[in-house]
């Protein structure tokens, strides 16, 4: 019954382990498992340093997704799950992580993770997830001071971008670059709703717009959508983006343009911010004697 479509939305799943660190040298090993509605990440940290992680698509069963993500993160590390002192579950499926010691909301975890990823100067974090979009303000320790979240509507979420990748027949990881291969910046797609935006894009293609121009118009619409979220919460420097869309330069550059501010850059993987935050909360809890 599920309609077969070319899977342009499908992004690559992967795992990573530190080439230098050895788990036997760590005093406290903690983990964060972020079960999102679209993707899941498991992050293992030793004494607050990133040791290993995985990023994969969430399956229909949250506990199984959590186990798979953790197994894959630990693969080839020579370490087993029982060496982890404290596991924090976060994300939409946070209460369904069978081996977690505690569940913490992803808003708190993303702020903490962004603080680790981008440094203590971060005050505003935009997390663009698969099925939601969060604007978060935090202090120099990564503690949340205000937040706002949109999970009612797909506009401004990764899922909305996946729908467009499918419609245009463009692989999702190429969308960002292609959105700049245009003669001039087009007006943004005017419909906020993804369903109506899709119809509008189809119409533009029929009118003879090149594909890249349509992509640019949608990236701009998405940027505008999240801009209004940040505007409502109030912007304070420095600004950083986490989540899957942070990897889409087409949206990121246009958000920067609207906000008239540059987002902090990182070499690290923006999709693991939530799980990193979870692992760091785990460490704090162990140190406070609550683990």
């Amino acid at each position: 019954m599920e309609k077969k479509e070319s899977e342009y939305w499908r992004w690559k799943e992967y795992n990573w382990k530190s080439p230098e660190l050895n788990w036997e040298d760590f005093e406290i090993i903690t983990a964060g498992v972020d079960i999102g509605s679209v993707s899941s990440q498991a992050v293992v940290m030793g004494d607050g340093e990133l040791f290993a992680y995985s990023n994969m698509r969430t399956g229909s069963d949250s506990p199984e997704s959590a186990r798979n993500a953790m197994d894959w993160a630990l693969k080839d590390t020579g370490m087993s799950l029982d060496k982890i002192r404290y596991v924090v579950g976060t994300g939409y499926g946070r209460v369904n992580v069978p081996f977690a010691n505690k569940a913490i909301t992803e808003i708190a975890c993303h702020a903490r993770g962004a603080n680790w990823m981008y440094g203590p100067s971060v005050r505003t974090v935009l997390d663009m997830g698969g099925q939601d979009c969060k604007a978060i303000r935090c202090d120099e320790r990564g503690k949340v001071t205000a937040f706002l979240m949109n999970d009612k509507c797909a506009a401004g979420t990764g899922r909305g971008m996946e729908v467009f990748a499918d419609l245009l027949g463009v692989h999702i990881q190429d969308i960002g670059e292609l959105s700049f291969e245009i003669d001039e910046e087009p007006p943004e797609v005017s419909s906020t709703c993804v369903v109506f935006a899709k119809a509008e894009a189809s119409q533009l293609l029929r009118e003879g717009w090149p594909k890249n121009k349509v992509i640019a118009a949608y990236c701009a619409a998405m940027a505008h959508r999240v801009f209004t979220l940040i505007e409502r919460l109030g912007m304070e420097k420095e600004f950083a983006i986490t989540g899957g869309i942070a990897k889409n330069v087409g949206v990121v550059k246009r958000i920067e343009r609207e906000l008239k501010i540059e987002a902090l850059k990182t070499e690290k993987d923006t999709q693991i911010a939530g799980a990193v935050g979870g692992a760091l909360f785990g460490k704090t809890l162990v140190e406070k004697g609550k683990g």
């Binding site: 949340v144 205000a146 706002l148 009612k152 509507c153 409502r232 809890l285």
Partner: protein, 94 residues
């Protein structure tokens, strides 16, 4: 922390803001809400803190509709949740 629950749609912005720094966790707002929009949840943002009030996940998408009966046209009387809060920790954006 200012927690904003709600959404923005074609007709406007609908957010309930709860300032957890002002909130004394007395639970009165939860008790007086006739529509069950609020509930007490663990405070994940401050592990030491007591449970805090939050808008239930089910209501976050439709507070414009659910809160409508408490919104008088004259705008003079206050919705019960705001009225009940002695610390002025609750705000409605509309």
């Amino acid at each position: 922390m200012k927690a904003n629950y709600g959404y923005k749609d074609g007709s406007g912005e609908y957010f309930i803001t709860i300032d957890t720094d002002k909130c004394n966790c007395c639970e009165e707002c939860v008790k007086v809400c006739p529509a069950g929009v609020l509930e007490m949840v663990p405070n994940d943002f401050d592990i030491e803190a007591d449970d805090m009030p939050a808008v239930t996940e089910k209501e976050r998408w439709k507070i414009k509709y659910t809160c409508a009966p408490c919104k008088p046209v004259d705008k003079e009387s206050t919705p019960p949740c705001i009225e009940a809060c002695k610390e002025d920790a609750i705000e409605h954006s509309w």
